[in-house]
């Protein structure tokens, strides 16, 4: 755990300059980094680049037809945002279930995405919202931005497509179509400070008693948060009465490939997926 240099850049170009050549650890809220480095699970440094003073990474606003959430937005800021309540209430739902007040005040959405835990709580709603990640780098003196669809961001537990000299600038959520509804549920053993055993998000545009353009995402049942394509296909256009909901829930149970761990067994997780899918679809049908 040897950090030789510490930098606290105050602009995006300066921050990207510090990341050039790799070898830097990016610090945002520190709520993952601090415990992980103490436990020896990550090695810090040799340079620690604290990006919390980079204004380009902050703010929640409507921009370019999207809801732009700066990477530094904390869970508390997201919860308080009127834009989020209007355009992405399902994300606020996930932030409300997140850890505790003290953690929500420090934990950033950028850190949650870049830490890429299979159980990261904002990742499931971001998948349901079809969000994109905006990444910046400065390979040859110029700041370059690229956007990556949410579903392509995660490549494995703790791994994303972000290159070592790239910074996550923002998450962009397309403004929802009229009639879009989405719900999120997380199941753990206690409401606060718990890592999800299973998290589920479902969204789509209401059309009569069914959903069009259905999106289903699961957390903590696979190495990365996942879109559930088979479940989505089963849900598309299905009338959400008891029989329809039961059919979709059965497909969801068969689609996930969870593992046994200290939080739950694979069998139990599959049952949870099926039961929670049923519950969320019941909610969506009422919405």
């Amino acid at each position: 755990m040897a950090i030789d240099h510490y930098h606290a850049p105050t602009s995006l170009p300066e921050a990207l300059e510090r990341l050039r050549g790799g070898g830097a650890t990016i610090l945002a809220g520190g709520t993952d980094l601090m415990p992980q480095s103490h436990a020896g699970r990550v090695k810090l440094g040799p340079a620690l680049v604290n990006v919390r003073r980079v204004p380009e990474l902050g703010g929640i606003r409507i921009d370019d037809g999207t809801l732009r959430l700066g990477a530094l937005s904390t869970m508390s800021e997201i919860l308080r945002s009127a834009f989020v309540r209007e355009y992405a209430p399902v994300l606020a739902e996930a932030c409300d279930h997140f850890a505790s007040d003290q953690i929500r005040n420090a934990a950033t959405i950028g850190g949650n995405v870049c830490n890429a835990s299979p159980a990261g709580d904002t990742l499931v709603p971001l998948l349901v919202l079809d969000a994109e990640a905006e990444l910046a780098s400065k390979p040859d003196g110029e700041v370059k931005l690229r956007r990556v669809p949410r579903s392509a961001v995660f490549t494995g537990p703790g791994r994303t497509v972000r290159a070592r000299d790239e910074l996550l600038c923002a998450i962009r959520v397309p403004l929802p179509k009229p009639g879009f509804v989405a719900r999120f549920v997380k199941f753990g053993t206690r409401p606060a400070l718990d890592i999800s055993a299973v998290a589920i998000g479902i969204g789509g545009v209401r059309s009569g008693r069914s959903l069009a353009g259905a999106r289903v995402a699961f957390g903590a049942v696979a190495p990365t948060p996942m879109r559930a394509k088979a479940t989505e296909a089963a849900l598309e256009g299905t009338v959400l009465d008891d029989a329809g909901i039961a059919r979709v829930a059965a497909v969801a149970r068969d689609e996930v490939r969870p593992i046994d761990d200290v939080r739950a067994s694979a069998w139990y997780r599959k049952e949870l997926v099926s039961n929670l899918t049923r519950r969320v679809l019941g909610d969506v049908a009422q919405a």
Binding site: S100, D101, A106, A192
Partner: protein
């Protein structure tokens, strides 16, 4: 030898300078470098709230914040909070309602309640429970703590 950095910030209303190891937490800076031991070390990983402090108006766990990130910020600990009327009211309510047993969780509970009541002056019991869901107490069973915070909102009775 770990590398250190000299930082300056406002601690309990006083401009303070400290030389901190780059990997140190704000908690170890407060306790080991500056010598303010009211902020408690228990789990060291964000689970218990014993180390709750206020940074730029937000309640956070000192054990998760890098000390170097305090640079230029305004930090309040239980020692500084003890001087304001809201914290004094909470403290009195804790005493009167028997909300303190071993007392180890108390500074964190008071800091969290103080920060939260400042923006939620009239909470329900359920809201109080949610506000302190990041603070663990091994002794009281929480009922008296919630009673005390409720009483503090009503002016300490």
């Amino acid at each position: 030898m770990s590398h250190r950095r000299e930082i300056e910030f406002v601690l309990n209303g006083v401009v303070t300078r400290a030389s901190v190891p780059l990997e140190a937490s704000a908690l170890s800076m407060l306790r080991d470098v500056i010598g303010l031991t009211g902020t408690k070390y228990a789990c060291g990983e964000g689970e218990c709230g014993a180390c709750t402090i206020e940074v730029d108006g937000a309640s956070v766990c000192a054990c998760l914040q890098f000390a170097v990130d305090c640079e230029g910020r305004t930090v309040t600990t239980i020692e500084g909070a003890a001087r304001d009327p809201l914290a004094a009211r909470i403290e009195r309510a804790f005493v009167e309602h028997g909300a303190v047993q071993c007392g180890f969780c108390t500074p964190g509970m008071v800091m969290q309640a103080r920060n939260w009541l400042a923006t939620h002056p009239d909470p329900t019991r359920e809201e109080i429970k949610r506000a302190i869901e990041g603070n663990l107490c091994r002794c009281t069973g929480y009922v008296k703590i919630v009673d005390a915070i409720e009483a503090a909102c009503r002016g300490g009775r």
